[in-house]
Symmetry: C2
């Protein structure tokens, strides 16, 4: 990884600055029975952009026959890049995907590996060691593409507990994160794929990670399976994590967590961040327009979220946290 | 307040020990169109007790014609007292209610006053000053009843923001809490009546309160109106608050927060506490039995909750928070 590329990473994820990544167009569509066509996706994207959202995970560089919902990933990257200040991220799970990613000019390639051997094999028929070697090869492709190559994020699935193996040792997650950084990842993301995390584990891992991986930007990805996603996000923010994922209406789920609700609800996550004193630049009320588009495009999906039900508080006080006298 | 009574307070709320108060049988029934009869309430109570719940808010000492759902408050106190280790709390909003409370032998009288003048007048046609004077008179009745008199809790509604007045100054809440303690309250409870709080304000008030009121037990009562209740509970626990309210399925709401969901979901609150290393003594899966009873008794009510939908994690790891190496 070159110094120029390092400065590109810092430009996309400036230390201390909050990034909220809207993953509905990827993680939210991973399992749906019906998915929006490219035009509806563009509408969804444009309405969220109009509300102030800037970072979008919009698909996956995978064979279109297995994942028809992501067949338009190239068009979606182009759609994001046409919007001022917007950035596109996409899953990039193998070398062929990385070739496509580099060709489209996506801003962030997200590679996923598993915290546990059991999930790694079940999900990808690959060991964690093989996944790390693949990550290193994708990192080499990124380096060969020059300083403007996409940022490469290593996402560690099941980082807080695994529905196949059960408990996940935090020390092992830290070692895996370190190995990802050595393999060339620019960003480390921990995912609570099946909603096993509580705020105490989140705080513990978030505070321990910098000792393992240095000042690499850290992301966290929470699912609200057991209702703790917002509390986990608050714990992550308290410990300095500044990249968080969410999806509009909490769309999305996981094949390994049957019956589970999806990602942390993006609208509620924005509200949390604002109450905690972060200026997200996102107009929560304007997100309702995007929500209506999604509801129309995917009538079978349940959209979650407290803000959408109750609206913002009457007062602007929630925007700036108050410190008692 | 006598030294003997002080030791009674400490016996009910030992410093550092977590108390989860199930308020569904009171706050959960405050606004419902149909409410369970006394037998169904007893079933609800007994099933929650069997799951390990020990502290129940079961009604309000108010005229039965205005609040028919609480006409059986005396029977409900008796029902709680018949269960081993169980304790009953009930709203006690005036002197006549306090007479009834003292006669029934309820364990905790909860008096409520408002953080803002506007809500105080709208809710009770009484100023905050008048409410404090009334609290002092109820405290005098408690003292006259001897050392075994109920614990008197002062609950401050709208403590984190008011749907009538908007922003609530945290310094004013602290002064009001101090005035409640001076008036004789044994426990101070802050309520986010309309769901305006975020975890940062909760942490700030929770850490500032002991400087205002000394080592009086502190309770917090969160509504999940905007999805932050569990995050707020986590923030309160992190700052040493050890008494938290919740209601089964999130039952309850507030006439000043139309369309709002109710209290923090009790099942999810228990799960949060367990992941944070507290031994609640409550079997979350057994709470599903109580939930079925409530669903049958109140078919018009929406029951919320993530745990009820997704079940517990497969692993027992969530019971004990792990600290990374």
């Amino acid at each position: 990884m070159t110094a120029l590329h390092t400065s590109r990473v810092a430009a996309l994820f400036p230390p201390g600055r909050l990034t909220l990544r809207e993953v509905g167009l990827r993680d939210g569509l991973q399992l749906v029975r019906r998915f929006p066509d490219t035009d509806a996706k563009r509408q969804w994207l444009m309405h969220e952009h109009a509300a102030g959202v800037r970072v979008f995970e919009i698909g996956s560089f995978l064979p279109a026959r297995g994942f028809p919902q992501f067949a338009d990933v190239g068009d979606m990257v182009a759609a994001v890049k046409a919007l001022p200040g917007a950035r596109a991220a996409a899953l990039t799970l193998n070398e062929r995907g990385a070739e496509d990613a580099l060709r489209t000019g996506v801003d962030e390639m997200i590679f996923v590996l598993s915290a546990t051997e059991g999930h790694s094999q079940a999900n990808t028929r690959r060991s964690r060691g093989e996944a790390l070697a693949l990550l290193a090869r994708i990192a080499a492709m990124r380096d060969a593409a020059g300083p403007d190559a996409p940022v490469l994020t290593a996402g560690i699935a099941m980082a807080f507990g695994c529905s196949i193996e059960g408990e996940v040792d935090a020390g092992e997650v830290l070692r895996l994160a370190e190995a990802c950084a050595r393999a060339g990842a620019d960003v480390i993301a921990l995912a609570d794929t099946v909603g096993y995390a509580g705020p105490r584990e989140v705080a513990a891992l978030a505070s321990a990670l910098p000792r393992s991986v240095g000042d690499i930007p850290l992301a966290m990805h929470f699912h609200d399976t057991r209702g703790l996603a917002i509390a986990n996000a608050a714990a992550a923010l308290n410990e300095g994590v500044r990249i968080l994922d969410g999806s509009l209406g909490g769309l999305g789920g996981c094949p390994f967590a049957p019956g589970a609700t999806g990602n942390v609800v993006f609208e509620d996550l924005v509200f949390l961040c604002e109450t905690m004193g972060f200026d997200t630049g996102i107009n929560i009320e304007a997100l309702a327009d995007a929500r209506r588009i999604v509801a129309r495009a995917m009538p079978d999906e349940t959209l979650y979220g407290a803000l959408a039900r109750s609206g913002l508080p009457k007062t602007a006080a929630w925007r700036v946290s108050r410190v008692p006298a």
